[in-house]
Amino acid sequence: MADKNIIDKVWKFFTSVKLAVALFAVIALSSIIGTVVEQNSQPEKNIKLFTKMFGAAYAQTAYKTAASLGLTDMYHSWWFTGILICFAANLTICSIDKLPHIRRIVNEPVKPIETKDFDKYGIKKELAIDGNIETAKPAALEALKKPGMHPIEAAAGSPASKDIQLYAHSGRYSRYAVYVIHFSIIIILIGSVIGVTLGFSGYLTLPEGETSAVAYTQEGAEHSLGFSIRCDNFAVSFYGTSDMPKDYSSWLSVIENGKTVLKKTIGVNYPLKYKGYTFYQSGYGVVPKNNSKSLIILNITPKGGKSEQISLAVGETFKIPGANSSGKVIAFSPALAFDKNDRPYSYTENMNNPAIYVEFTAEDKVRHSGWIAKRYPQTWAMPDGSKVELVHNWGYQYTGLQVRKDPGVWVVYAGCIFITIGLYSAFFLSHKKIWVLLQPEKSKVIIKIAAFTNKNKTGYEGVINSVFNRLTHVTAQGQRR
């Protein structure tokens, strides 16, 4: 029977509250370390941190020690996972161990109590109302139904007495609420395990116009999606003429077997979902070398004419319809600004204020040249009355997408819903019992009340007081009439 002994011992170990306390403390304390040591970052950052904490002499040693203990990727280290597994085991076994006891309490029927025991309860009350047992009983029943009780009636006291006892209970299932919370936590942990083992988490950077059938893991390995995704367009919008971004948007197409099956514009907080994969807008940037596909999109409105949209590359020439002049795009700036001497310069590599330098030629002579900037409408007007608006520059930027597949997320959400129900029941519902003894005495009936609740005693006391105090009031008024 040595086997059983070991199982018993292990079981007993995991039911101990001391273990729970120890695990709480270990999780909390190690989590603190994890917030101080930067996770999954370049070694230099943490070496700097350790230099500050322990001095330059020990920084390298401290970093090596920390790294070997897994402190630089602590939440994924084997020992932290181990602690979480212990926590889950502790939670499950503690709950299972206590469950039979709670089930007994829940299923225990409420029984009448001895007359002498009425004084022994935490909540007690005694009052006298005018009338006899026939009038007092319905009034007391009515009072009990107010807080949602379904009273049972029994004779009480000696067989000769006309005493009646009413008793009831409610909310007994709320005792399970704590277990609902505990199991929800287990469900959430299971959901996260499903996500980690069966899911995928990676990224994808897509220049405008490009298509990819793979995403990349954090380590840079390819991961086949089973379909292709194309970035049709990317744009950043700003608040007014400030450089504070208002929104990042990517126009994405999902392509399967050569056909476009889905088109969606995504933004931060508005991802694209397809076949279990979710694509989040997480970043953007400038394509290092403007690829051959890069285009400038212009909206040209000749004087008195209809506007027309054209696209061309830097170095190419466009014609203004109806006029005999043409413009040549000489240069491009991603973020045009003018310095104190009115000299143009690009103040950032990002496309904050794209602009083109255009030279207009008519009859083989350069008539006019200047910058046309996306943000400044005043630069769009040409001396000849026509308007050249820089609408967009395409193929200059890439969109940074976070790609994730997490089949466990719905399990996690289900756990969250259960935990909410559990929390509500645990904190706002309680198991209540009440006994009401009616003893006729001359022209009065003495009412003795004993009650019990596992939570919020003062609240229940208040309810009992209010419903039974009204009883004295109502019957007294009835008497006066």
Partner: protein
């Protein structure tokens, strides 16, 4: 009317309310008590109006967002929740005892927010914050923070009233915790007086000025003096802390009432924190960042606070802890909450980014 004026009225109103509440204790006159409640409620309404005006103003600026998105706004909202919680307690328990403690806190906090020079600009939102979850997540988190703050106040009051022996661990706890609070506030006040750091951004203030007048001063003697002064305050609080008890005794607070209130406030704060702070936060993170839990410092510290309060509840239910132990736990809980709210922004980001600047 504009929001700064209304915030000013609220600030002054809370201090006036404090004086009337103290008058109520001295004279025990119901009319004075009603006046105190009225003044506090008026100040609260003024603050509510200020919040609404600020919200409307943001629409006028073409930004249009709830006033809950930066340090300034969140502190103001925290004070608002604190007062709301207090007024609910006052009406529910017909008990004005706390008024004299909570109103000066609210007034001081508003005044302090003014002084620190935290940016009051209505700034547009970065894309990640443009979500309907913002309102639900932030409001509920702050309601929970305020509840934990009130629980902290009741817990500390409990400890002040229940201990007086200098070798008692609970006595040592409250004198030290209380004086550390005072020292931090005083040091920040000194920063303001020295640098007049008004108008700088939150990050600049934190990195450039926080504790620069005292603990992080460039001059060695100032640093030593600051630490010596802090130690002196702690020792003085420990030596003479019982005097506070004598003073508070006259307010007629019962320990049972404080203990029950402490539990009830946590029983409200804990589910709200779990739902609004952790669950809604996770759902939002899932939508915006693509991970419902990424162990970032803010999330981790929320979890730590949650564990402390979960421990509090289990200690109370399973072990039947009452009295000093439970009051200490609720105070520790709020210390972790403060760290979650402010410390993570100030301290951890600071630790990581000094070198890079």
């Amino acid at each position: 009317m504009s929001s700064p004026i209304l915030f000013g009225i609220a600030e002054v109103g809370y201090f006036m309310a404090m004086m009337v509440y103290i008058g109520y204790f001295i004279f025990k006159n119901e009319a004075v008590g009603v006046t105190a409640t009225a003044v506090a409620s008026a100040a609260f309404l003024s603050q509510s109006a200020a919040l609404i005006f600020r919200w409307v103003e943001s629409y006028g600026m073409g930004i249009g967002r709830a006033p809950l998105t930066n340090l300034y706004e969140s502190l103001i909202f925290f004070v608002w929740c604190l007062m709301l919680g207090y007024l609910i307690i006052e009406f529910k328990y017909h008990n004005r005892t706390f008024g004299a403690f909570v109103t000066p806190l609210a007034g001081l906090a508003l005044g302090f927010i003014d002084l620190t020079g935290i940016s009051k600009e209505i700034e547009p939102l970065v894309p990640a914050l443009q979500s309907n979850w913002l309102l639900a997540h932030v409001t509920m988190s702050f309601i929970a923070y305020a509840a934990f703050g009130l629980a902290f106040a009741t817990g500390m009051l409990y400890l002040v009233l229940s201990t007086e022996k200098r070798n008692e661990s609970s006595y040592i706890f409250w004198t030290v915790a209380g004086s550390v609070f005072f020292i931090v506030l005083a040091a920040m006040g000194a920063d303001f007086l020295t640098f007049k750091a008004a108008g700088t951004s939150q990050q600049q203030f934190i990195k450039g000025y926080l504790f620069k007048a005292t603990f992080r001063s460039d001059s060695g003697p100032t640093v030593w003096l600051s630490f010596a002064g802090a130690l002196a305050i702690i020792i003085a609080a420990w030596r003479y802390g019982y005097v506070l008890k004598r003073m508070l005794m006259t307010f007629g607070l019962s320990l049972e009432f404080l203990e029950e209130l402490n539990y009830k406030i946590i029983a409200v704060g804990f589910p709200i924190f779990t739902l609004g702070g952790l669950i809604f936060g996770a759902i939002w993170a899932d939508q915006a960042w693509g991970v419902y839990w990424s162990w970032d410092p803010k999330e981790t510290w929320s979890l730590i606070s949650w564990l402390v309060y979960a421990f509090y509840l289990h200690a109370r239910y399973l072990r039947g802890w009452r009295g000093n132990k439970i009051a200490v736990l609720s105070s520790i809980g709020f210390i972790t909450v403060i760290f979650t709210y402010l410390g993570v922004n100030i301290f951890l980001s600071g630790l990581h980014s000094y070198g890079e600047a």
